[in-house]
Homo-oligomer: 470 residues x 2
């Protein structure tokens, strides 16, 4: 069999037998991610050098065996799933390099380094690495880079892509290239760095990254604002931002999220409000204090019931704990969670709230809304039971309607989770035939054999969204 000949050749390159996993008990752990579906890979390799990755890609092209790079598998869009069989490249074990250069204000990291550790190392010398996906204590920087991960702090600080200065990348055909560099300004040729970041592992395998760090803000303060109606919270967001205040974070929880959290781990949140906003300001203490006064006024001016400012860091951490509990809380209601990240222009947030309400009613589904409301990046989550075929059919229709609503309101299918397998059928709706074709041309020119992470981003002919198990 091809895979056996491939394996024989690989053993000539990677001499550490314990980094080549062939047993089904080992491989089966690589069939999942945090999204949908199960796909058993034929083989798992744990490389720890760019030369090893390059050799794997050269052999993979020779034998026409698909390769899927993978970090910790926290992807919400199916990024690392080996949907066409073949080899999973587990990069999570390659975590030996985490260098901080204070003078250049950069971090140089191996792909398997846990994201939160980069931020922690930067903070030791007064800097920070801002991107903070919810999974940052588990996920690898390689996965974050492949998916261009976001997070609450994206509102003020931007997403992963905004902090990448340079990459070492193995191309689909096994060449080792370096993109960008160590300088904040670089216009030498096409921006391959920003093309590869967010390409979901379909254009190259990142083997090292140079990340930009920024000074840690001297202070921060958090407020919790309660609104009778979710639409009022949308107006508050708009009022604050157009007043020239850019909070570090501005997160929303709707009534169902609040109720789910209170049922899961009671924290004294009022379950009768329509929505709550958590607003974190950071910067100079004097500046924050002035901005917080304005934030309170603005929230009240659109009908906030109360605006409570955390008195200290401990209380602020408690406010944020409520937000963090939403995901674990809602899966207690039903076992299957479909987490979306459709994103709309800020001015369309109230309209999107309305559309989501209609979708909930039309399909009679459990739809919870929370997320990074400040940048229009909502997380409508549908809670269902995957074993219930009739319910899942309604869920499929609701998901399609959520995507349609986002695109119709001038937004996008995905703000931070990526396209992967599930959203691929909707790509043409947003990009048009010509737009999608220009992306495909890049993929084909870089990966003529379609060896690297096939089945992602680009829809197969006639592909439709299917959440029902066979």
């Amino acid at each position: 069999m091809t895979i056996e000949r491939f394996l024989k050749d690989i053993r000539q390159i990677i001499k550490a037998e314990n980094r080549i996993l062939t047993e089904i008990a080992d491989r089966s752990s690589y069939g999942y991610d945090a999204s949908f579906g199960y796909h058993l890979p034929d083989l798992v390799i744990q490389p720890t050098a760019a030369e090893e990755v390059a050799a794997v890609m050269k052999l993979a092209n020779q034998y026409f065996i698909p390769v899927y790079p993978r970090g910790q598998g926290t992807s919400l869009s199916g990024g690392p799933l080996p949907v066409k069989g073949g080899v999973v490249l587990d990069l999570s074990q390659w975590n030996d390099k985490l260098e901080i250069d204070k003078e250049d204000m950069v971090a140089i990291v191996s792909p398997g380094v846990i994201t939160a550790k980069i931020d922690a190392a930067a903070r030791e010398i007064g800097f920070m690495y801002p991107p903070d996906p919810s999974s940052s204590h588990v996920s690898t920087i390689g996965g974050n880079l492949a998916e261009n991960a976001g997070g609450p702090r994206g509102l003020k600080y931007g997403v992963t892509k905004d902090y990448v200065l340079g990459l070492e990348v193995v191309t689909p055909e096994g060449e080792i290239i370096r993109t960008g560099g160590r300088t904040v300004k670089n216009v030498t040729g096409y921006d391959l760095t920003k093309l590869i970041v967010g390409s979901e592992g379909t254009l190259g395998i990142i083997t090292e990254a140079t990340l930009r760090l920024v000074p840690k803000p001297p202070a921060s303060q958090t407020a919790m604002a309660l609104f009778e109606d979710m639409v009022d919270s949308g107006r508050a967001i708009s009022k604050v931002l157009t007043a020239g205040i850019v909070p570090a974070k501005m997160e929303l929880m709707d009534q169902l999220s609040i109720q789910a959290v209170e049922a899961y781990e009671p924290r004294g949140l009022p379950t009768d409000v329509g929505a709550l906003l958590l607003i974190e300001l950071d910067g100079h203490p004097v500046s924050i204090a002035e901005e917080m006064t304005k934030v309170k006024e603005l929230c009240k001016s659109v009908g906030a019931r109360t605006v409570q400012v955390a008195e200290n860091e401990k209380e602020a951490a408690e406010f944020w704990q409520a937000r963090k509990l939403v995901s674990p809380a809602i899966v207690r209601v039903k076992p299957t969670k479909i987490s979306e990240d459709a994103t709309v222009p800020r001015s369309k947030i109230p309209e999107m709230f309305q559309r989501l309400k209609e979708i909930r009613e039309t399909y009679q589904i459990d739809l919870v809304v929370f997320g990074h409301a400040g940048d229009g990046n909502l997380h409508p989550n549908i809670i269902a039971d995957a074993r219930d075929h009739e319910e899942m059919e309604r869920v499929e229709k609701a998901v399609a309607d959520i995507f349609t609503a986002a695109v119709e309101l001038g937004g996008t299918l995905s703000g931070e989770h990526g396209i992967g397998t599930m959203k691929a059928p909707f790509m043409e709706m947003e990009l048009g035939k010509a737009g999608l074709d220009m992306m495909k041309r890049i993929k084909t020119s870089w990966d003529p054999n379609n060896i690297l992470n096939p089945g992602k981003i680009f829809p197969e002919p006639g592909q439709r969204l299917v959440l029902r198990h066979d």
Copy 2:
């Protein structure tokens, strides 16, 4: 002749005869930009609609006629030069749209809008558009986008690319596509927006852009620090930045720049210092005041002779005027100015100063250093006389050495001017064969006939730097 058949067909599409320039008197104005060389185009078209641009590109592919998009021609790297003959698309007349949406915090603009007008319109409602290339009062946003223009404010706020949310683009084969959108977060497929911005007009013609605006800082303050030795100024930059202070601007003038300005328009600057730094802080007044105290201490700790803080806006404007006069002042010394923008990691600034000093001595050239030192983006400018062949030969060698020094120090050929024609021969030195090949693959897959802005970025076989006229 092909061009005549092309012209006949174009007249069927663009009915306004005054937007098709065939006379040599008109065409000759399009043979130059702010860099080197003169190339007369066969035809100039001034489109004012994406459909017109698309039709031109379709015809150009049919007749195999090269097309060169152009804004105001302020490029310092030859971006708009019609080096292989053909058609210049002058987009500077297409300036009818400049919409500001306060709620979404975006500006929607036509390609011919002057960059400074976008910032002015944003400031009217309390926002700003940060990118500020020196040419911003003359250059078009289309040109800025094509070249990913920088500017002094890049230190704190980033460059053009960091403010582009979405584009309307005509592909090299004449399809109209939309990339990105109106949301700050978007991970739907490959990031074509950031690929096209900075691609120097070789991957598409930008016909509309959606730009992100940010709140205008409430206050700013400027200081001028004088140093006996340029290397000390480099140490001051490092001290300030690693202390967690990110100035809005941090600009350097070396002794020769100061002397040139004083000879051109005396402003009372001390001509005996090795270098001066202009440092602008912006933000909350209390925060600025505290930071300015620290900046003064830090500059003095590395041997600054004096640090003078501007007492009011008028005085600050006078400080900045000195910096703005460098370019006009130095061309008074000799008529030919070769403006480079080699960029190094911040920690290598003192070493780069040393290398530039050696290059000046080795080749006995007039080399002036100024620029955006805070982000390592120096502007070594060589002043010469293009009619002096012997001198120009030395200049060619010096330029090659500047590029080599930048790359050897872990930097890049270009921080903000682009590659164009002049730096193309040095691309492989920085990117390697494989890295350059991956860029070429994208170009070929998008523009199989090499119709759109040929002769830029990618070196011709055996191409060398030539600054001498024939």
